[in-house]
């Protein structure tokens, strides 16, 4: 089993290094095939490990002693248990699909090989993140995915700012930097959390840390929980660090699907789930409650922005934010296994949704404004089907135990909110379910139904390659059937994660609650159908209203950040550069250099090459030394 762990972990790295060999050369289809194959091998290994964990139990390997300094001993080990094997399987499955998809999507890109190198490197980092058996390894993976995310968002770094009708003008390199910097802010919190744990426990191994938790004081527990959650907030783009996620859509679409929907952004949720013994402590219950409240807030906050957005990928990005909010709500309320279940289910249908969007984007020559699409279902039948299925899954459609993946996972979260008597959260989450359905189908109808507005742009859409569509099918199937495995999954992961049971009361009225959610979801779809099925009719009055503008400008938060943080910071930087650095620091350094140079120039004359002159200098020095010694001696005598 140990070998399988290493295969699952290092196959992506091997692929990445292989593709990197051809990084600067022309497109070479072999890199795509090799990396995809290696990721698939990693997936197979993960799947075998999954069955192994299910039948036998967790696998814990210790590869080497990594850091040994004084009393500090951090081994580099990997833990494959119920949580990590779930993540591994999901990550490698989605990655495999995305890799194959990218073969088609990046077909015409001149940096084809580089792309696969980055993408596989990302998968490797993600595997390190989920498989590590200690917080430091997790942090390494955490930073690794951050770097890969930066590389991939800024993949088209040569692109200039393009002003668009709907979005603020940003370039990929700008978006990449924004994502990276925002994550750094949060990572500081994460590091502080790790330090706090190490300082008080003396180890970073999960098992040791969690075993030592009851001995720690309440203040330390709260500080560690808060600091770690700050890290999770950054990676999972929770308010107020959420703006990078939508801007990250500047990257290639497969990247958005893999990193900014299915895997990396869920790392924050993974962290909270992984650290569940910490967040379950009585002392930190209000931190957990805050997590749930923040998650709920982000759910509705992001959903509201998605209502009016016109950018195909940004709508999906907002929906990702919203679903991450759901996951945090579940995790914060103590239903860790439900959060993990929603994480997995969401990975499948959100990746599918993104890749479908990629197909549309590919067909529309890079155009993303859904107001300029419409009627695409005639030419893109399969993509329409996939995106429809994914949207249904996202909206959580289903009834009486039969339905799409989102029906099972999201419903369970909403039920948890009711069960915990947090009715405010419950109300918001139900409402958000309706909003989710509305914006999902607004997007589907505007893209695929109605009048064909793209003719005006002179675009001739075409369906994606056949093998790409076939490669998407596993995701589509999982988006439909994943929910049926809920009970089985619960049985599997609750061996490790705390069980969560609905109270008797909730259990009785569960069907009413479910029906209510479905009613909201169906209501949203119907509303979207009525408004957008027959085509786009723009309502000028609505678009000028305050609420609409507030939403379409993302609550003016990006502008607010720009005005209050970026601009003053830039001014401060310019001041530091112009005044402090150039006039003070540089001048000082230059002055020292000039002084030494002048001194050297002047004293160079001493070196005449004539021994007599040297002897004179020596005699003068000797005289000086004797004089100093004598005076010092006299003074010391006077002192006694």
């Amino acid at each position: 089993m140990e070998n399988l762990v290493y295969i699952a972990l290092f196959a992506p790295l091997a692929g990445s290094l292989f593709a990197a060999l051809f990084g600067m050369s022309k497109k070479n289809i072999i890199t795509g095939i090799v990396t995809s194959t290696l990721i698939f091998i990693s997936f197979v290994a993960s799947a075998i490990l999954f069955s192994h964990v299910m039948t036998v139990g967790p696998v814990h390997v210790r590869m080497m002693d990594w850091i040994m300094a004084g009393d500090m001993l951090i081994p580099f080990g990997f833990l494959v248990d119920q949580i990590s094997v779930t993540m591994m399987t999901v990550v490698t499955l989605v990655s495999t699909v995305v890799h194959i998809y990218s073969n088609g999507y990046m077909d015409h890109d001149k940096s084809f090989n580089r792309f696969f190198s980055y993408l596989s490197a990302f998968v490797f980092s993600m595997m390190v993140l989920v498989m590590s058996d200690n917080f430091l390894g997790l942090f390494i993976g955490w930073e690794g995915v951050g770097v890969c995310s930066w590389l991939l968002i800024g993949f088209w770094y040569h692109k200039e700012d393009v002003s668009r009708e709907v979005n603020p003008s940003i370039s990929p390199s700008w978006a990449a930097n924004e994502a990276f910097i925002m994550n750094r802010i949060a990572d500081l919190g994460m590091l502080v959390g790790i330090f706090i744990l190490y300082w008080n426990v003396g180890s970073l191994q999960y098992d040791v840390v969690f075993a030592a938790l009851p001995n720690l004081s309440d203040g330390i527990l709260v500080a560690a929980a808060v600091a770690l959650f700050i890290g999770a907030m950054g990676k999972s783009a929770q308010f107020p660090l959420h703006t990078w996620l939508t801007d990250a859509m500047e990257g290639p679409t497969p990247v958005s699907a893999l990193i900014h929907a299915a895997t990396m952004v869920t790392a924050g949720v993974f962290l909270v789930i992984r650290a569940n013994p910490l967040y379950s402590m009585e002392a930190v219950h209000w931190v957990s409650y805050f997590i749930a409240a923040l998650g709920t807030f982000v759910a509705v906050f992001a959903a509201s922005m998605a209502l009016v957005n016109r950018d195909l990928k940004r709508i999906i990005a907002f929906s990702t934010l919203s679903q991450l909010g759901y996951m945090f709500a579940a995790a914060g309320l103590g239903a860790y296994w439900i959060a993990l279940f929603h994480l997995a289910a969401h990975a499948f249908f959100k990746a599918l949704l993104f890749l479908g969007a990629g197909n549309v984007m590919h067909a529309m020559d890079g155009e993303l404004d859904i107001f300029k699409m419409g009627g695409l279902k005639k030419v893109m039948r399969w993509t329409y089907l996939y995106m429809g299925v994914a949207s249904l899954a996202l909206s959580g459609i289903g009834i009486a135990g039969i339905g799409f993946a989102g029906y099972f996972s999201k419903d369970a979260i909403i039920e948890v909110a009711f069960n915990e008597h947090t009715y405010v959260l419950w109300t918001i989450l139900v409402l958000t379910a309706g909003l989710t359905a509305f914006y999902s189908f607004r997007q589907v109808f505007l893209t695929f139904h109605g009048n064909e507005r793209y003719h005006a742009l002179g675009i001739h859409p075409h369906e994606m390659y056949g093998y790409v569509l076939v490669a998407l099918s596993p995701l589509a199937i999982l988006a439909v059937v994943a929910g049926f495995y809920k009970d089985w999954f619960e049985h599997f992961v609750t061996k490790l994660l705390p069980e969560y049971h609905m109270s008797e009361h909730t259990h009785h009225i569960a069907w009413i609650l479910g029906l209510l959610v479905i009613a909201f979801a169906v209501g949203g779809i119907v509303l979207a159908y009525i408004k957008y099925n027959r085509g786009l009719k723009r309502n000028e009055k609505l678009e000028r209203s305050f609420v609409y503008r507030l939403l379409s400008n993302q609550y003016y938060i990006p502008i607010f950040y720009e005005k209050t943080i970026s601009k003053p910071y830039a001014a401060l930087s310019r001041f530091s550069w112009g005044t402090v650095d150039q006039k003070v620091v540089d001048a000082t350094v230059d002055g020292i250099g000039k002084f030494i140079k002048t001194t050297g120039d002047t004293t160079r004359k001493i070196q005449t090459g004539n021994l007599s002159d040297y002897l004179r200098w020596m005699a003068g020095g000797a005289l000086l030394l004797v004089a100093i010694a004598f005076v010092a001696f006299k003074l010391s005598q006077g002192a006694h």
Partner: protein
């Protein structure tokens, strides 16, 4: 009465004469002579101090100084011969080859 101070002052004066010779002369041979003067000046001081304290250590040092002076002359004169072969003169000013 002649005390230790007299000898030390004589020693100091002789040392300064030697120093002036070292500083002033350009003939390398003369530099060697001046060095000998300085060494002898120091020997006088050693012998005087030895006498003053009735201690043999001063004389011992004077012996070793003489031994060092003899070695110095042997090696130094050898070097002088080579220098003379190379430059054809003993003038210090002629050796100015490392001007900065």
């Amino acid at each position: 009465m002649i005390g230790l101070g007299h000898y030390l002052i004589l020693s100091g004066i002789l040392f300064s004469i030697g120093l002036v010779g070292v500083l002033r002369r350009k003939n390398l041979l003369m530099l060697f002579f001046a060095t000998e003067i300085m060494l002898n000046a120091v020997n006088i001081a050693f012998a005087a101090i030895s006498n003053h304290y009735h201690d043999m250590a001063g004389q011992m040092f004077a012996f070793f100084v003489i031994a060092v002076a003899a070695s110095e002359v042997a090696v130094g004169l050898g070097l002088l011969v080579i220098l003379y072969k190379k430059y054809g003169t003993l003038d210090l000013d002629a050796y100015t080859v490392m001007r900065g």
